[in-house]
Amino acid sequence: MPPSRNFILGKIRQALKTGSHLAPSPAVLPDAVSGLAQADAASQVSRFATELQTLGGSFQTLPQAQAGSWLAQCLQQRGVNEVLAWEQPALPVPGLLDALRERGVKVVGEALPAAEPGRSAMLAHWETIKVGITGVDAVFAETGSLALRAGPGRPRLASLSVETHVAFFTADHVYASWAAWLARGGAAASGEALAAASNLTLITGPSRTADIEMTLTVGVHGPREVVAVLVT
């Protein structure tokens, strides 16, 4: 056991024994779930879209059968023929990646080697990819947020190092808020699930900064474009 650990904990225990400066104040937990939780699914989706669009993100609703061709067209418009993507089982649109491959798009996203020089070399390739394709674990209507967990076949960089992040979700993923997901999302939203993966990121709109003269600028380090697609 490192000496500083016991030294510090000892000092804290001493301080708490003598200190009476911190009388806990009684406080009632306010209802963590706003009125939105009682709203129907359609109003939650519409709120999600409004919130995301206000922040400069885009929202789309598409029938499942059209998702592949719509995405391929998006890529073509951007002159992109390579994507960094979650693996097919982690996406809510069956056959999406195959649909892209059929149209000549290269799909990248296999695991990075843990050791060098493979790790750096593959990262250097990923860094050049402009579009990332992911699913979600949940979306939150109140804030227009996407919740993405790391996991098998789910590269974190697909929503991060790219210029455009396209996230597909279904009506089942929609919750009123993070609080609602924690309360009702079951095992997937639990502390155990959180600790079981290295990362859960809540993404709300494009990357932004206001560090120069408080002037809002998007796409500083993360994606400039966030496109959320509800698949029906």
């Binding site: 510090i8 804290i12 306010p30 922040l55 974190r156 924690l182 990362n199 120069i212 993360g222």
Partner: protein
Amino acid sequence: MTTDPPRTAGQSHGAFKARIATALRNPILQVALDRNHERRVAGRDLAFAALPAAEATRDRGRAIRLETLSHLDCYLERFAASVERNGGRVHWAADAAEAQQIILDLVQAAAGRRPPGRTTPLLVAKSKSMMSEEIELNHALEAEGIRVVETDLGEFIVQLRGEPPAHLITPAVHLRREEVSALFAERFGMAPTLDVAHMTALARAELRRVFFSADVGISGVNFGVAETGTLALITNEGNGRLCTTVPPVHIALMGLERLVPTLADLEVMLRLLPRSATAQKITSYVSLLSGPRRAFEPDGPEELHVVLVDNGRARMLGGALAEALLCIRCGACLNVCPVFTEIGGHAYGSPYGGPIGSVVSAGLFGSDFSELANASTLCGACRDICPVRIDIPTMLLVVRGQHVAAGLPPAWLRLGLRAWEWVMAQPGRYRLAQRAAALATGLLGRGNWVRRLPPPLNAWTDRRDFPAFAARPFRDRWKIRAAGKAKSD
């Protein structure tokens, strides 16, 4: 093992006053601070108005932080065990020197993960961490030949200028686009432009190379969740995510008070922090990091280290300034403070400025920083705006008391107070002094105001007029009034 040495940065009465004078003379800073005040305070008010049960949420946030601090030893042990269960490693640092050494060792060990043949200096990509400012980490790493790059846009700019951040949330708040443009032109050969988007794109390109070749990513931590061993990072730019995802080693640096018990508690704190800091309902990114990359995950850091730093916090916990440890570093009290709005962050000469910073600096670094508490009007705006309702004015008074008890106020003030005490002790002396004061201000002033007083009293009149004493003191008027009443009875 060392025990909480005071921070060595020189603080003297003259130095603080000189920095204040410099800030007040800087018109660019004055405009920037006014703008910061207006936008941030108005935005914060709107954000809280739209939060359901806002006041109850603040109460709850305060209760969560109080619960954490009241059982800090238990929560720290639980947190450390959870981080290690997730595959991370926890390091305990009693003071700044130990924290520096731990991180230095970790960064040097990361050399073992370099691609073969790479000979450039070890590179650290850093995202915002006030703790790293507190322990002067960059300086310590650079002294060992390690290259450290701040990747938050504002921090990147102030680092290039060789300055510390000027605000908890907006590090380059004191600069105009003209200064940033000149800086980028000089350092990167950028063609002259005042286009903020263009300058941001240039920084993006520069920093992308850093993220993808860094040996280590170092980040701060907004909250650690004891139950799950999760680190919560709240950011907007994405640099925090890149620093904690791309390099093979991630070192997270946190003050040991920065915990909440559970995931549900974290959710409550995240309703308060972005609204208070940047008037956002939620920031672009909330990263919840639980351990390093797992074997089944395609990317992420291979190692995660959490450095828990005491550096005076345990001592503070047992004293009259313990409540300041509730702080969640939102910066709202800076934005609303009438003094901060005039003098900015650099004047304080501490990584922690503004109302809460004056308390925290004195609590962590000792009496060298107790003078900062004098830079307050005690108006209470900081207490009113604080998301966890820290009673900052009361603690500013405590710090002032400590300042006096340590014998630090200047000699003239002590002499003056002794003279005051002597005068006030006897009614005769008091009456005489009243007459003298009325006579003096009557001679020096015009009408009811004195424009200029002789030294050392000019410290007052340099900045505002002094009200003249009444020609006829209240006691005399009272006597006359009483006499008149007696007659009419």
